[in-house]
């Protein structure tokens, strides 16, 4: 089965639509959303309303830290994120709030785990940013393949039978075989707020039979989303980083 993996949409509806359309062209048979549907962006309600029916129809979805923060205030956020999340909370309908409240921290499907952050303790929202943190996540869960987000920069890690960690910066549109004899952790890029220097929405496709993972980009009209962020009075820095992809 071909699964489209979409993470960190962050209330960016055009970015989500671009990913869904591109995944459709790549013959996606199932969607998996790796959390952070809201926060930062201008369309929290529209994004949740778009995802909700997909999840009811069988798509995988897990909770992200921004989703949780939209449900109940937290102190673990910087000022910009907190300002955006306070605004977000007011935009969400009761139905969307209850959808987010019903999301699990992780979903298992066969030997694959879907989670927002470090899989060894999903509720701690730890970032997987290098081989060492990746080792913690991989050794802390039984899944052979883990997909997570949270970092907004694509990366692939694997652990060999001899305990060696390998870190890899994935190239766009290249099939990476996730060899069955190793444990893998793939960090997705962000659909709605990329931070790897490319403003185009990031997503990936995983083929469960061939065990190949491929990172893709879906370009969309970034300028208009940045304009709406400014028009809504959300912090300017959120519009700026969207344009830069940083």
């Amino acid at each position: 089965m071909r699964i489209a993996l979409i993470s960190d949409i962050h209330a960016n509806l055009p970015a989500l639509e671009a990913c869904l359309a591109a995944a459709g062209r790549l013959q996606a048979e199932r969607f998996a959303f790796l959390g952070d549907f809201v926060g930062y962006g201008p369309d929290p309600e529209a994004v949740v309303a778009r995802v909700h029916p997909l999840v009811e129809a069988g798509a995988i979805a897990v909770l992200g830290n921004h989703d949780l923060a939209a449900l109940k205030p937290t102190k673990d956020m910087n000022a910009t994120a907190a300002q955006a999340i306070a605004w977000t909370r007011k935009q969400l309908s009761a139905e969307s709030t209850s959808f987010l409240a019903g999301l699990p921290f992780e979903v298992r499907s066969g030997d694959v785990l879907f989670v927002h952050a470090d899989a060894s303790d999903p509720a701690a929202w730890n970032y997987v940013t290098d081989a060492e943190t990746a080792r913690g996540s991989i050794e802390g869960c039984p899944a052979m393949v883990t997909f997570c987000g949270h970092v907004h920069v694509p990366a692939v890690y694997c652990l060999s039978a001899t305990g060696k960690m390998i870190a890899h910066r994935p190239a766009q549109d290249v099939d990476i075989p996730l060899l069955a004899q190793r444990k893998w952790l793939a960090v997705l890029g962000s659909a709605g707020q990329p931070r790897d220097g490319n403003p185009a929405a990031s997503f990936a496709m995983y083929d469960t039979e061939a065990r190949t993972l491929t990172y893709h980009r879906a370009p969309y009209d970034v300028e208009s989303v940045a304009q709406r962020i400014r028009a809504l009075g959300l912090p300017d820095s959120l519009a700026d980083r969207l344009l830069k992809g940083r």
Binding site: V156, C158, S160, A161, T162, K164, M165, I166, H168, P170, A171, V174, I176, P177, L179, A180, Q181, R182
Partner: protein
């Protein structure tokens, strides 16, 4: 991991094992027959014993990742991969013909023959690099020749794919490779520099032309590291009849700093095929190893400071293209000449290590044997070369960046295309016929080249008055 030992007659994934053809340190090779259609292939299986070297397994994983992606005549065609959980294997095309290994008993070979073999191997390396793969184990036993003449590179167990996780990178502290051919940066654990393959080919050229390995066959890391400081005996000292151009090429390949080697295998192949165009430097004339003081100075430096950093993303050769500028001196106006030269220079500007090959086709008479001497008794070929150099002079390109080629042929378009195919040309620049009536009568050379070229083509035309 599979425990079952493979035996003759066993059938795995539809392939029947006929015979064990080779046993190496890391893998076995078997002749197999596909039961469905009787087609014969080669099957490779990793050597798996208790307490075995994990490198055998990891390199097999790499090979299973890389081989299915490779295309073209310079690699064995991949047929199937076997699951690690059952019996890991790779089934591939059987290539008729033998490796270069049996040639070792005939060394040294004549320089012309070594250059021809080297150019064919460089073509194969270029094809591999263009597919984002660095071989990292170029040596006689890994090179075969097809009956059609193309070199085929086998054994991707140590190879690096620039866009895939490098499983070998973190796994082992010791460098993996083959001692006589391993590049200095590879000795230091760097696996991402495509120019490591050019060093290995240089060591092979040296060995084949002199009968002596440039760095011996050290078995310990300390011995391997010697090549960072100690330069090899110049080939011409060992064999005085080796021409300077050949030594120039070989010693350039064997530079410790990758940045001083050829930037691409295509440029190396071009020099091996065009000896008269090789720019000779001090390397060509060198007859002794570097002296005591030069050695002392290098010994004072750390190993890391003696080698170059690998390029950011592997095998991108766009900084060092071969550009060919096809010039028709019989149909040239000052305006078109100026435009052609400017266009070529603009392309070179963005690619600091690019090479420009200026071509001219000397048309042969289709029927009668052509007169090589013109009325004044001048050799036409030599005169053309002089004219071509004169034509290119305003470009002010330094020697080494520009070469000149007069090709004698009946069909100019076919000749330009052939040159581009044989020499891995990345970009052809040529002028369009000035006169549209002539174009109608004679057909368009640039049109044919643009339609059939294996690379980019820029056709330069002077904007004339509206017709």
């Amino acid at each position: 991991m599979a425990k079952a030992r493979l035996t003759i007659g066993t059938v795995i994934d539809g392939f029947r094992i006929d015979e064990l053809t080779h046993t190496g340190g890391m893998a076995h090779l078997w002749s197999v027959t596909r039961e469905a259609d009787g087609a014969r292939f080669l099957m490779k299986t990793p050597v798996v014993y208790e307490g075995e070297d994990p490198a055998a397994i990891v390199s097999f994983e790499m090979e299973q990742m890389i081989m299915p992606r490779l295309k073209g005549p310079h690699v064995p065609r991949h047929v199937a991969n076997g699951d690690f959980a059952v019996q890991p294997h790779i089934v591939m095309e059987r290539i008729e013909g033998e490796t270069l290994l049996p040639q070792l008993k005939n060394l040294p070979l004549p320089v012309e023959k070594v250059a021809a073999i080297g150019a064919a191997i460089a073509d194969a390396i270029q094809s591999l690099h263009a597919q984002d793969v660095i071989h990292l184990d170029i040596k006689p036993s890994n090179i075969l020749f097809r009956p059609s003449g193309e070199a085929v590179l086998i054994d991707y167990g140590l190879a690096h794919h620039c866009k895939l996780p490098d499983l070998m990178q973190e796994e082992f502290r010791l460098p993996y490779g083959t001692a006589p051919y391993m590049a200095p940066e590879q000795v230091m654990g760097i696996r991402s520099d495509p120019r490591s393959d050019l060093f290995a080919l240089g060591a092979l050229l040296y060995f084949f032309a002199t009968g002596t390995r440039p760095f011996g066959d050290p078995q310990k890391l300390k011995g391997l590291k010697q090549r960072l400081w100690r330069d090899p005996v110049p080939p011409r000292k060992l064999k005085p009849d080796i021409p300077p151009w050949f030594q120039e090429i070989v010693l350039r390949c064997l530079e410790v700093r990758a940045g001083r080697r050829y930037p691409t295998a295509a440029q190396l192949a071009h020099d091996l095929r065009n000896p008269e165009q090789v720019v000779l430097t001090a390397r060509a004339e060198k007859l002794e190893k570097d002296g005591f003081f030069a050695l002392l100075k290098r010994k004072g430096e750390t190993a890391e400071s003696l080698i170059d950093r690998p390029p950011e993303r592997g095998t991108d050769t766009s900084d060092a293209p071969i550009v060919s500028l096809a010039v028709n001196l019989d149909d040239m106006t000052p305006e078109l000449a100026d435009k052609l030269r400017r266009t070529a220079l603009r392309i070179l500007e963005r690619a600091p290590q690019a090479r420009l090959a200026v071509l001219n086709v000397l048309k042969l008479n289709r029927i009668a044997l052509d007169q090589t001497l013109d009325e004044q008794g001048n050799n036409k070929h030599v005169q053309r070369l002089v004219d071509l150099k004169d034509w290119a002079r305003p470009m002010n390109l330094e020697q080494g960046r520009i070469t000149f080629h007069v090709l004698e042929a009946v069909d100019p378009a076919e000749t330009i295309l052939d040159y581009a195919r044989v020499n891995n040309v990345d970009h052809i620049v040529m002028g369009a016929r000035a006169n549209s009536t002539m174009r109608k009568i004679l057909g368009s050379v640039s049109g044919k080249v643009a339609a059939e070229a294996p690379c980019s083509v820029t056709v330069v035309r002077n904007r004339g008055p509206d017709e």
